[in-house]
């Protein structure tokens, strides 16, 4: 056990990868991180146009509270129609 005592485990070494003050857009293709201005309660993803309501766990610790319903629902409906058309054209993927 001796040699293990001082070294960092994988979990501990990953600690430095934690990013505070940011969250990720909920759209899988975006992957990019959004960094809302301190205190704001709304954010729009510049890449895909999804909009989210923002809540704060504490200062410098934002999280997505939920979608801006009307905006994201419209994006979802458009995406659904587009995909169904593509599917008819190309067959089920």
């Amino acid at each position: 056990m001796g040699s293990e005592k001082e070294g960092l485990s994988t979990a501990e070494s990953l600690r430095k990868t934690r990013t505070y003050g940011q969250f990720r857009c909920h759209n899988p293709s975006c992957m990019g991180r959004l960094q809302p201005q301190p205190g704001v309660n709304h954010v729009k993803c510049p890449a895909c146009g999804m909009e989210f309501r923002v809540a704060w766990i504490k200062p410098n610790f934002p999280r997505i509270r939920g979608p801006v319903w009307d905006v994201n629902q419209k994006l979802a409906e458009e995406a659904f129609e587009r995909k169904m058309k593509e599917e008819k054209r190309d067959g089920v993927k």
Partner: protein
């Protein structure tokens, strides 16, 4: 010393109680908790026994680290053959029961037979007594606990109890301790009810010697620091598990209207921050509670502010209650959420299963498969809050045709309802899915399909798959302690690399269940939380036993395999829709319609899904039919099971 905690065999038919030590060689093979329970279940139940008959065996346990300094060593595990699906039944709960059981001298209870009248077990400093519980029959879960404390004259007694649902043999009745800690899944409360066992009360003041106290304290500090510094746990500590709702419902991973949609719209009223406001108003700014020795404190306290139960104190509601009383039935009221949560807590039934089955019935009602005749006039349309709560009551007390039918669980209910009702039932191995929708997440779909206790998110879910972590981070996590050189993908709509992640998580969750610690303290919701490399240290400092990370992995694999052996003995076949590793056809046929643009229009690809299962089976050492190869059993030292050594 943790290792001198005993196992007790209790036969409720004869009243005979036998107490034995747990041999070290068994410990080194199965550790404790769920793993050792699985070994005991495989050894102590006969093939094909009636889950609600006296021959079913009920296991109750703490992990090998229970009550020691490993952070959140709170978990109680309960296991038996499940009355819900006939496969392995297993439930795990937080609270304070298992540590008290350990201080009373026991790590494992094996309960057989059936008492001729309601009884409860009183376990105190090495002694076990079977006591009359006729006066407790009919009481709610909390009434029962307070009554036992008063009767025995000790406020520090911790109880594991059933409520009216367990007494009424509702096949998804749970076991409970405290206000809301529930061993919810697979109907363990019904098994207790079938044995006329109302409660197990424990109280102990026996030392558990810590092998290296100074080092244990210092390492525990470091361990806790790693756990509490994670963003995910800070969020949990503020909002409780409802915080998960924010993300999953936002991108489209929540079942709505049974399985018609993958997102509940305009549900601001039941969002985590809204729940937090109610807790703050009714309890105060500091309204979070913790389970035993846990610094995450994810359990919110609240009083119901409005409605017929206004003023009632409860805890939660958890993420699962949001799904059960809001997402799936498409209700959006805070009062319904808090009241529904309170009712299932008091009556002792699984919120997940309850909400899922009622939502299924709602879909059948809207389709005309169920009519006013079967519902006794109840308007069971989606979004009817009153009907939802009334149905909870009817199920618990088996009132009306539908209440009595749903109380039998989805499989039996679908046989009774007939027509094509089964096609709409979202279940695996007879157990309803969590309210999560896995059509956009193949890894999660593989997890629910293959989970040993039936559809389940706590058996093998690679939840961090949703975080889009860089591939090198994923590789760091998933290549320890066993090297993995295959593909890994940060994309959660992908199929590649996922079987390995599910396999790894399955072993990870089994390991924590054997140790007796909470999944919020390992790689479940947070990527940077302790896992295989960290556990040998807590094990060594607390118990003096030396293990390598690889040895813990091997133990977990062995314990998972013995669960599989049990399921195979009870008739598991790969693609069977009732007893298989298979998903409802809607996963493959009905595309998702809501959520993020990349999530809509998704189904699980049948062919790719099959390939994932093939690959997953390969990692587990199973053949194409899901049966372990002889060399796998040999490698895991299971070729002679059942060995009847304990």
């Amino acid at each position: 010393m943790a290792l001198n905690r005993k196992i007790a065999y209790i036969d409720l038919s004869t009243g005979k109680i036998e107490i034995k030590p747990i041999p070290l060689n068994i410990r080194r093979k199965f550790l404790g908790g769920r793993g050792l329970d699985a070994y005991l279940l495989y050894n102590h139940t006969e093939k094909g026994c009636d889950p609600l008959g006296p021959k079913n065996t009920l296991m109750v346990s703490g992990g090998i680290l229970t009550a020691t300094l490993a952070s959140a060593t709170a978990r109680t595990h309960v296991m038996a053959k499940s009355p819900l699906g006939g496969m392995i039944g297993s439930a795990n709960m937080g609270g304070f029961f298992a540590p008290e059981l350990a201080w009373a001298g026991f790590h494992h209870l094996v309960i057989k037979g059936k008492a001729d009248r309601p009884v409860y077990l009183w376990i105190n400093n090495g002694k076990i007594e079977i006591r009359d519980a006729r006066h407790l029959w009919g009481k709610t879960t909390t009434e029962t606990q307070w009554a036992i404390r008063e009767e025995l004259g000790d406020d520090d007694i911790k109880c594991m109890v059933i409520g009216p649902a367990g007494e009424n043999l509702v096949r998804f009745a749970n076991v409970m301790t405290g206000i809301k800690n529930s061993g919810g899944r697979t109907g363990m409360g019904a098994v207790m009810g079938s044995k006329n066992l109302k409660a197990i009360a424990a109280r102990g003041t026996m030392d558990i010697k810590i092998a290296h106290p100074k080092e244990a304290l210092e390492y525990n500090k470091r361990f806790i620091d790693q756990i509490t510094s994670a963003k995910v746990n800070q969020t949990q500590g503020t909002l409780g598990t409802p915080f998960i709702w924010g993300a999953t419902n936002s991108w489209g991973g929540v079942r709505c209207r049974n399985f018609q949609y993958n997102q509940e719209l305009y549900c601001d009223e039941i969002e985590p921050e809204a729940i937090d406001e109610v807790c703050t108003e009714t309890i105060g700014p500091y309204h979070m509670a913790g389970c035993f020795a846990c610094q995450v404190h994810c359990r919110a306290k609240y009083r119901i502010p409005t409605g017929p139960y206004a003023g009632a104190y409860d805890e939660g509601p958890e993420y699962t209650s949001q799904g059960a009383f809001c997402g799936e039935p498409d209700c959006r009221s805070m009062e319904t959420l808090l009241t529904g949560n309170h009712l299932v807590d008091q009556w002792g039934m699984d919120n997940l299963e309850t909400g899922s089955l009622i939502s299924w019935a709602m879909e059948l009602y809207e389709l005309g498969i169920l009519t006013d005749k079967e519902t006794d006039g109840l308007d069971l349309r989606f979004g009817n809050d009153e009907a939802l709560l009334e149905m909870v009551r009817r199920i618990c007390f088996r009132e009306g045709w539908l209440g009595d039918t749903l109380a039998e669980g989805g499989i039996i209910a679908s046989e009774r309802i007939g027509k094509d009702s089964f096609n709409y039932l979202i279940q695996v191995k007879g157990v309803s899915n969590l309210h999560s929708d896995e059509r956009a997440t193949p890894a999660l779909a593989l997890n629910v399909a293959t989970a040993s206790r039936g559809s389940d998110h706590l058996r093998s879910r690679p939840a961090i798959d949703l975080y889009h972590l860089p591939e090198e981070v994923l590789r760091k996590i998933y290549s320890t302690p066993v090297p993995y050189n295959g593909p890994l993908s940060s994309e959660h709509t992908e199929y590649i690399g996922k079987p390995w992640q599910v396999f790894w998580q399955e072993n990870c969750y089994m390991a924590v269940d054997c140790l007796g610690i909470c999944k919020y303290h390992t790689v479940f919701l947070g990527a940077t939380l302790p896992n295989f490399e960290d556990w040998p240290k807590v094990l060594y400092y607390n118990t003096g036993l030396e293990f390598t990370p690889r040895e813990i992995w091997d133990i977990a694999e062995r314990c998972n395999m013995i669960e599989r052996l049990f399921n195979l003995r009870e008739g598991l076949t790969r693609e069977d829709l009732v007893r298989g590793d298979m998903l409802n056809h809607r996963y493959f046929d009905e595309p998702t319609r809501r959520g993020a643009p990349d999530v809509v229009g998704r189904v699980i690809d049948r062919e790719k899904f099959r390939k994932m299962i093939d690959e997953f089976y390969e990692y587990k050492g199973l053949d194409r039919n899901g049966v372990p190869k002889p060399e796998t059993l040999k490698r895991l030292g299971l070729e002679d099971e059942p060995s009847h050594l304990l």
